[in-house]
Amino acid sequence: MDHDLVDQIIDRHHAEASALIQVLLEIQAEANWLCTESLKTVSERLEVPLARVLHVATFYKAFSLVPKGRHQVHVCMGTACHVRGAPRVLSAVQDATGIGPGETDLELKFSVETVNCLGCCALGPVIEVNGTTHGKVSTAATAKVLQGYE
């Protein structure tokens, strides 16, 4: 990721050690992942040991230490979706993309994640692709939604 951008993000938070999580979140939002270089810069400028930066980066779910695919598929596994058949929807997503939760395919096309609640329980089971919500999906509808992405 662009070095200047990382520096700008750190500057916005006055390089305060307590802003570590906020800084990493912004880098993640810009680059879609946290590369080693960015993590090192953050560690040096915030004066936080690299081990602690990595501790944080691996503890929280929002961070990824590997590049993500072009299309982010979130399968809601919240309780309301679960009782309405989310596990079947997840299998359909796995069949359609060839990858499981937490994985990214080799062409960097899809990244699949399970999430714990998207808060649209009235629409369950729900999947979200690149921020667009698809509600009340059946296994067949899931496959159809994913076919639409290149």
Binding site: E16, A17, S18, A19, L20, I21, Q22, L24, L25, V48, R52, H55, V56, F59, Y60, K61, A62, F63, M77, G78, T79, A80, H82, V83, R84, P87, R88, S91, D95, V115, N116, C117, L118, G119, C120, C121, A122, L123, G124, V126, T133, G135, S138, T139, A140
Partner: protein, 643 residues
């Protein structure tokens, strides 16, 4: 008409309030712009109203508002036309021209978009007459649909920040505290700790500075009331927080909100900027001499951060692991200083208490659980959504009257309350009044207010496995009973769901539960066995059926169910045959379909797609599949062909 200079006195604020007062007779279209309705197309509806009102020459006469969530997510996008309060449900962009012509140009209604009584078929025009709303007591959430969620002027117009003015200018911090104590307000985040006592502890604790914090790390799956409040009416939470700061002597506040709620973060940050611009936050608020500032901290995705000490550790920029609570966090919390952490809904109640008094609040609800509570009613329920009811209402009334019962003629089985650490309450306890202590006695808890309704198709062993699985993933790993104990519980529960349960499994699970409850560091571990223990208490027969008969009574556990096609009912329509992902259905046109049990992996697609007029795919558990009919009998001779 927004302000460009801060108000320097209460009088200036009042003057501004008068200037932005809304004419109650003026037509206004309120469209829910909460996350649920946006997901069902509210953005297109808003855009359609803009164009349509312009086209029909009404743009100057009719106001538009993108409001917060009114709660009726099941029927979103929800549109309410003021002043007639006509409530249109499931509106699409295509309906908009008709609505504008009928109800804004003319004074008619579009019948088909009104709520319809499922038994009588009668249509209901006004929002408050719909049973879903009529049976609620909406003190907090009703403001959501009356204001534009991004307008401070709207909030002022409905009396916003009057409680702050009252607290700062007409009450001492001690008087505010006395009212909060009198109200008996208890924390809405889960444990139900008395808010007044928590505040008092911080107020009297030594150490400066002090902090007030909003816990908006709403991680319980199936619960979204805090998000609705933050998205729809962020100022009500801020107002409560500022009053809290004034009461305990804090000048800094934090809002810990999960980044999975982008709209909440956006609306809240916008609200803080607006409040600063109006002189309601910052130095010398309204000339009172009280300084207060608020920072937003985005959570990076860890369920355990909803726990008070873990949240505070995360605010310090570290890994959100809980700390031992030899000294409570209201005495020694964030950066080791006295810190009051309350849930979003708790803070939103504070302005009401200041305005109306503690006694008024205490008479709502029951003696030990006062006020109202917003529940997120989801799962197998007709009216999914947010409902706000006085404490003490029975579960039955919430589910049947407000929630409209179970859809599809299915039988109620249980309601799960309290999120992953809560428990399942069976049908025989449905008359239980909802309150902190009543739910705890039943083996569940109030939690943050998630209420997940389950019907006969839900397997209770699977539900326990689901929650233990969730908590195993979310355990921070700091203490052993939680980290290792839950992992073993998950292993055993998964085994039971797969039909590999053994004698003694239940006893081992009980033992692991006991250790986790006794020896875990924080509430996550201490309450983690609840889903297992409560389902075992009320549904032991289901566990036994899984373990001894290898049968799932709800026909939900994939490894324990089999499918076959009833040859009497199969019409050889080819639908299941085409959709079976394992290519495990044998058949052809006019040839009765048969499932090849060798290939079937019990995904259930055939069961889902078989047209309901045939219902030929049969799901069974605990019994062998009947042998397929011999090949020579599979031909279907259709009447039209025969004649």
């Amino acid at each position: 008409m927004s302000r460009d200079c801060p108000c320097r006195s209460p009088a200036e604020l009042e003057e501004h309030r008068q200037a932005v007062a809304r004419d109650p007779g003026r037509p206004c279209v309120s469209i829910c712009a909460g996350a649920g309705c946006l997901a069902s197309g509210a953005a297109e509806v808003i855009a359609a109203f803009e164009t349509e009102l312009a086209d029909q020459g009404l743009a100057a006469e009719v106001d538009r508002k993108g409001t917060g969530c009114p709660g009726f997510c099941e029927r979103g996008p929800v549109v309410v036309l003021h002043p007639r309060e006509i409530c249109y449900l499931q509106v699409t962009a295509a309906d908009v021209p008709e609505i504008v012509a009928a109800s804004l140009k003319g004074d008619g209604v579009v019948e088909r978009l009104l709520w319809e009584d499922p038994t009588t078929g009668a249509r209901v025009e006004r929002e408050q007459d719909i049973p879903f709303y009529a049976n609620q007591q909406r003190l907090l959430i009703s403001a959501n649909s009356r204001i534009d969620s991004r307008s401070l002027d709207d909030y002022l117009a409905i009396g916003g920040y009057t409680a702050l003015v009252k607290a700062l200018f007409a009450m001492t911090p001690e008087e505010v505290l006395a009212q909060v104590k009198k109200s008996n307000l208890r924390g809405r985040g889960g444990a139900g700790f008395p808010t007044g006592a928590k505040w008092e502890g911080s107020r009297n604790a030594p150490g400066e500075p002090k902090y007030v914090i909003v816990n908006a790390d709403e991680g319980d799956p199936g619960a979204f009331m805090d998000r609705a409040l933050l998205e729809g009416n962020p100022h009500s939470v801020l107002e409560g927080l500022i009053i809290g700061g004034y009461t305990i002597g804090a000048r800094e506040g934090y809002v810990y909100v999960r980044q999975e709620y982008p709209l909440a973060v956006k609306n809240l940050s916008h609200a803080i900027e607006q409040a600063e611009g109006y002189g309601l936050l910052g130095e010398d608020i309204l000339g009172s001499g009280f300084d207060f500032s608020v920072k937003v901290h985005k959570g990076a995705g860890a369920f355990v951060c909803g726990e008070s000490t873990a949240l505070m550790t995360a605010l310090e920029g570290r890994v959100g692991e809980p700390r031992p609570k030899y000294i409570r966090s209201n005495v020694k919390g964030l950066w080791g200083k006295p810190s009051v952490l309350n849930n979003v809904e708790t803070w939103a109640n504070v302005p009401l208490i200041v305005n109306h008094g503690g006694d008024w609040f205490a008479q709502i609800g029951t003696a030990r659980s006062t006020g109202t509570k917003i529940f997120s009613l989801v799962g197998k329920i007709t009216n999914t959504g947010l409902v706000e009811v006085p404490m003490g209402m029975s579960l039955r009334r919430i589910i049947d009257t407000v929630g409209g019962g179970i859809p599809g003629g299915k039988r109620f089985k249980a309601v799960q309350t309290g999120g992953p650490s809560g428990g399942c309450i069976p049908e025989q306890l449905l008359d239980l009044p909802v309150g902190f202590d009543e739910l705890s006695q039943a083996g569940s808890m109030m939690g943050s207010g998630g209420m997940i309704v389950m019907d006969e198709d839900t397997c209770m062993v699977d539900v326990a496995r689901y929650f233990v699985d969730f908590l195993t993933d979310e355990s921070c790993g700091k203490c052993l009973p939680c980290r290792e104990g839950l992992r073993q519980m998950r292993r055993i529960l998964t085994r039971i769901c797969e039909g590999k349960g053994r004698d003694g499994d239940l006893e081992t699970l009980e033992e692991l539960s006991e250790v986790a409850m006794e020896a875990s560091l924080c509430a996550l571990g201490k309450s983690a066995p609840n889903p297992f223990l409560s389902t075992l208490r009320y549904f032991r027969d289901e566990y036994e059926a899984h373990i001894h008969d290898k049968r799932c009574p709800a026909l939900a556990c994939k490894e324990l169910v089999s499918y076959y096609i009833d040859p009497e009912k199969c019409k050889a329509c080819l639908i299941c045959l085409g959709q079976c992902p394992s290519h495990g259905i044998i058949g052809a046109k006019n040839t009765i379909h048969v499932i090849d049990q060798e290939k079937c992996d019990a995904c259930g697609v055939c069961f889902e797609v078989c047209p309901s007029r045939f219902d030929a795919v049969i799901k069974i558990s605990g019994a062998p599949v009947p042998p397929p009919i011999p090949e020579e009998q599979r031909k279907i001779v259709r009447k039209s062909h025969a004649s």
